[in-house]
Amino acid sequence: MAKTVAEINDKIRQGKAVVFTAEEIIEVVKAKGVKRAAAEVDVVTTGTFAPMCSSGAYFNTGHANPRIKMGGGKVTLNDVPVYAGFAAVDLLIGATVVADDDPRNKVFPGKFAYGGAHVIEDLVAGRDVRLVASAYGTDCYPRKNLDTLIRLEDLNEAVLFNMRNAYQNYNVAVNLGDRVIYTYMGVLQPKMRNANYCTAGQLSPLLNDPLYRTIGVGTRIFLGGDQGYVVSHGTQHNPGVRRSDRGVPRVPAGTLAVTGDLKQMSHRWLKGASFTGYGVTLTLGLGIPIPILDEEILEFTAVTDAELTAPVVDYSQDYPNCKPEILGEVSIAQLKSGEITVNGKKVVTAGLSSYAFAREVAQVLKRWITEGSFFLTEPVAPIPSADSGYKFKPLKERPWEPAQAAN
């Protein structure tokens, strides 16, 4: 009993759409069975709220009088360098950039108290941000210096643009070494005394549509508290990995590039994060509605934490040296219980992805759809799936050597 996105949108318009979160649907399928549930349910909403480093934002500040060509000049926001290599007043800031005079890891482990993600959070929170620019001056853009406060509402376009979010599955990080290590997966105690994981598991967007049957280019999503869009597959997209019988990746796989209007977002759903000894990143709420077009899609969304697994990876040696070994696989349910067993050793676990907030993202999205303020989309184009042959390659390093003197 197949449905179409158009039919589901009609039901949303009439206030008749049946919507469950990816957590709720598990019980629905248990109670009603796949066939009946697939017929009755129209949409399953997913959500995640986690650090996502490859995030950033671009702005158009409007022109100062007299004009200044920041493009090709130097620009900072709250002392954090901004990329200005565009036209006169278009600026791009990445989540992980820090001020030039930030001590970074000189006193190890560094605090990384403020960076690009915090600038984005400050703007979204409506706070003043100091813009300092220096330029070389031209006949048409004579001004060479600018030092002013700006705020989000006064900017022209302000757009969140993330080249890689919503990783489909992620490593569980442990430390086999004999000193504490400070990683993007948090602080890892030596001799595998703790394990950190980062996934929303059964609520995670791409774990509920493992073969990207409904999520594609142009899919409308929840992003940072507003409606955003999937741009395409994200960087490092790697769909051809090992998968379970149900098609779910057993290791990190697909990713999404997404975008949305920063002016409509809320700092409740978008926060700067400081990882001791590692750096700054942006923690972001993202949710994707999955139209239940057929039984297979419904079965995908009913996946549980007990069925999902993540690989345990050593971050003292294996990860830094790109070794493919894993120490084992554990289920998300085990990770959430607070303790896993790796090579016969019991290890306490902690998360980096907020399940509580992920649940809320899925609930908000469900409410929007039920209220008729959010409509589903059909992908404009698919993103490369498991059988596409699309791969994430390592860097082919070819050390540069100065050319031999030609005389």
Partner: protein, 136 residues
């Protein structure tokens, strides 16, 4: 019997004095040292749980104050800023006393001041500065 957890701050000139001994011997207190940092010529800092007769405990506090030991309540030392917390749970595993604990149904973190021994292990694992030291 009364019990309290406090932070004792020792000025540098008291570092060589056997003050804990006096608390045990003269005031009949059970002194449980939870954490201590003692460096010559610097302020020393000791987190202790004191257990004993209520009036003796008060007398001991006066004795410490007279000596110049600055006594601070422990409960206020570590502060959990709930509005900054995203409930990622990164702080829960390193906390040795379950002062930071996780409701595994709601998957939300809660902080129980009474259990906190101000070991500071949570401070650098929180990416959101949701856990802060009050006096430092």
């Amino acid at each position: 019997m009364a019990k309290k957890k406090v932070v004792l701050n020792f000025p540098p000139h008291l570092i060589d004095q056997p003050i804990t001994y006096r608390l045990v011997k003269d005031y009949d207190l059970v002194v449980n040292i939870l954490r201590a940092r003692i460096t010559p010529r610097e302020w020393g800092r000791m987190v202790v749980e004191l257990n004993g007769n209520g009036s003796r405990l008060d007398e001991a506090m006066n004795f410490l104050a007279d000596l110049g030991v600055v006594v601070e309540p422990l409960a206020g030392e570590i502060q959990w800023q709930e509005e900054r917390c995203i409930h990622c749970t990164a702080c829960v595993a390193p906390c040795p006393t379950h002062a930071l604990d996780l409701d595994r149904v709601a998957m939300t973190v809660a902080f129980d001041r009474e259990r906190c021994i101000a070991c500071e292990l949570c401070l650098n694992v929180c990416p959101y500065r949701a856990i802060e030291m009050a006096f430092e």
